[in-house]
């Protein structure tokens, strides 16, 4: 059994009376897309925040490539290769597309950020940035201001920035949110090809995308993982159906709402 690239062990988090994460253990293996689904309020965001380092768990550990990263913050985990995209894009809106990617490219090189020499000058860093843009198909918009991009384009930009880090794993929070059908299809195709480069932990509501992409699915309900398995296994799982559809088990067909 190979080592997971990213895993949580017994992660717990409570906010006052609310137990947002109950003893959550999940794994992300090389070459896979592992989708995390669940009804609203299940605690997906809280879990993601603990995985990327934005929130400290009350108990439990987060392991990345064999290292215990529980005590590390977001930027430390990013330096180790844990890339993340946001549900609501976190980008430097006033800057151009190129500037946003350059940020990633410079950061990825480690070392100090120079005081002198234009950031946009020709060279290794710029090439890396432009390559990432080309991979997501945004190369023609390099000079555009990020604020003027469409929703889907901003999503692509976020992925491009993540790519410059040469990540070892992706954590993506609802990348399909707000995209139309064609946008979703494009991104789905892109993520499909991306899994070989680095595994993806995908939080998603869009079931078409989930069923098309996921190698495995974990279902989070009320802060607890109630099922983990392949697409087929999850579709048939009675507990999952109950959680999504309510009492009546044995309803025919039906994707979870």
């Amino acid at each position: 059994m190979t080592e997971p690239v990213l895993s949580t062990l017994g992660v717990c988090k409570r906010f006052g009376a609310l137990q947002a994460s109950r003893d959550i253990s999940l794994e992300l293996y090389r070459g896979e897309i592992h989708a995390l689904i669940g009804p609203n309020g299940a605690g997906k965001s809280t879990l993601i925040q603990q995985i990327v380092g934005a929130l400290a768990p009350d108990a439990g550990r987060v392991l990345f490539e064999g290292r215990d990263v529980t005590a590390l913050d977001t930027s430390a985990r990013a330096r180790l290769g844990l890339a993340r995209t946001f549900q609501v894009s976190a980008l430097a809106m006033e800057d151009t597309v190129l500037q946003n990617v350059l940020l990633g490219a410079f950061a990825a090189r480690g070392g100090r950020l120079g005081f002198f020499g234009a950031a946009v000058r020709r060279g290794e860093v710029r090439d890396a940035a432009e390559a990432a843009l080309a991979r997501v198909g945004l190369q023609d918009l390099a000079r555009a201001r990020t604020a003027e991009l469409s929703h889907g384009q901003r999503r692509q930009l976020e992925v491009a920035v993540a790519l410059t880090l040469q990540p070892r794993a992706f954590v993506m929070d609802e990348p399909m949110a707000g995209l139309g059908t064609s946008g979703s299809r494009t991104l789905t195709g892109f993520l499909d090809r991306l899994r070989d480069e680095a595994p993806i932990l995908l939080v998603e509501h869009d079931m078409d995308a989930v069923f098309a992409l996921a190698d495995r699915i974990s279902v989070l309900v009320d802060g607890r993982i109630i099922a983990t398995g392949t697409v087929e296994e999850i579709r048939r799982d009675a507990g999952v159906r109950r959680a999504y559809l309510g009492e009546t088990a044995g309803e025919s067909g039906g994707e979870p709402a």
Binding site: R79, F86, A92, E94, L103, A108
Partner: protein, 327 residues
């Protein structure tokens, strides 16, 4: 050549022209005014690195202005009194050499900025504003209660510091020094803004989360910017003390902090020459309106209020249009 660049060149050219004009019409006080504007502009350029590029609202930049001024004052008073600064462990004399005074001023303010920044940048935005304001006040009260260097009355300096090869007592040459330093600092600020560091700092201003996700530390970026900012304003303080041959606790006051902030905003925050436009405007207003009525601050307050509520880009924003994206 963008509109903004043209405007910047005209502005700097006009400032340079004032002393020459003053010499032509034999009105020496104009040279003093121009020098004052150049030095205040320098202080503003410093603030703008933290504020415009870093997004850090510092209400305490007078701290660095005052530290720079007092560095000069302390060194000069020991020099003019022929008493050493320290006798143990080594004997340190005072000095009236500008380069040394500047080096000391920059180092002292940089150190203070590092300490203050390290403490206050760990907190969220509003705390930062309050803490910077508080530290300015701390130095103010300290300067008042430390009698060795004048206390509340301030310290008069009888010598003008010297710069090798120049007659610094000549107002035009002193203006030249101030103006040259202003140009150098503007060039540095411009380079910084276009650099990788500037890119990251600017990104941190817009989205902390973005910067963290690429593996950088917003805290370290902002701290570095704050230190650079403090050092530049400290240099301005030393020059200011030299111009007036006087240092007083007022250099540390919240009013001074507020004034620097105000004219940077009026000139156009985050614009390269915003501080220059603002300082020139401020000195001009002070001179013209101060003569007419005693209550010109009310007018300043109203203008500021209008600008904040309705005209965010300041003077340069109005005249030069939207900021061009750094390319």
């Amino acid at each position: 050549m963008t509109r903004e660049t043209i405007f910047n060149l005209l502005l700097l050219g006009a400032l340079l022209a004032v002393p020459l004009y003053a010499r032509a019409v034999d009105e020496p006080y104009l040279v003093t005014l121009a020098t004052r504007a150049a030095i205040l502009a320098l202080a503003g350029v410093g603030l703008n690195v933290a504020l415009g590029q870093g997004g850090l609202v510092s209400l305490g930049h007078a701290t660095f202005f005052g530290l720079g001024g007092y560095s000069m004052g302390v060194l000069a008073s020991h020099a003019q009194g022929y008493t050493p600064l320290l006798t143990w462990p080594i004997e340190l004399p005072g000095t009236t050499s500008m380069p040394i005074v500047w080096l000391v001023a920059v180092t002292v303010s940089g150190l203070a900025a590092w300490l203050i920044g390290a403490l206050s940048l760990r907190t969220t935005g509003v705390y930062f504003i309050m803490i910077t304001l508080a530290f300015g006040q701390m130095f103010y009260y300290f300067a008042i209660s430390w009698p060795a260097y004048g206390g509340e009355d301030g310290l008069s300096i009888y010598v003008r510091n010297g710069f090798p090869g120049l007659n610094t007592l000549d107002p035009i040459q002193f203006f030249g020094i101030a103006f040259a330093l202003l140009l150098l600092t503007l060039a540095f600020a411009a380079l910084l803004a276009r650099s990788p560091f500037g890119l990251a700092l600017n990104a941190a201003r817009q989205s902390r989360a973005r910067v963290q996700t690429v593996g950088l530390s917003p805290y370290r970026l902002q701290l570095t910017a704050f230190v650079v900012s403090g050092m530049i304003t400290g240099l301005a303080g030393a020059l200011f003390a030299d111009l007036n041959r006087f240092v007083s606790p007022t250099m540390f006051s919240w009013q001074t902090s507020g004034e620097i902030l105000v004219f940077v905003i009026l000139g156009g925050v985050a614009r390269l020459c915003g501080p220059v436009a603002g300082a020139v405007l401020f000195v001009a207003l002070e001179h013209l309106l101060g003569g007419i009525g005693d209550y010109w601050h009310i007018g300043l307050g109203v203008i500021l209020l209008m600008v904040v509520l309705f005209a965010r880009g300041g003077l340069i924003g109005l005249l030069a249009g939207r900021a061009s994206v750094h390319d």
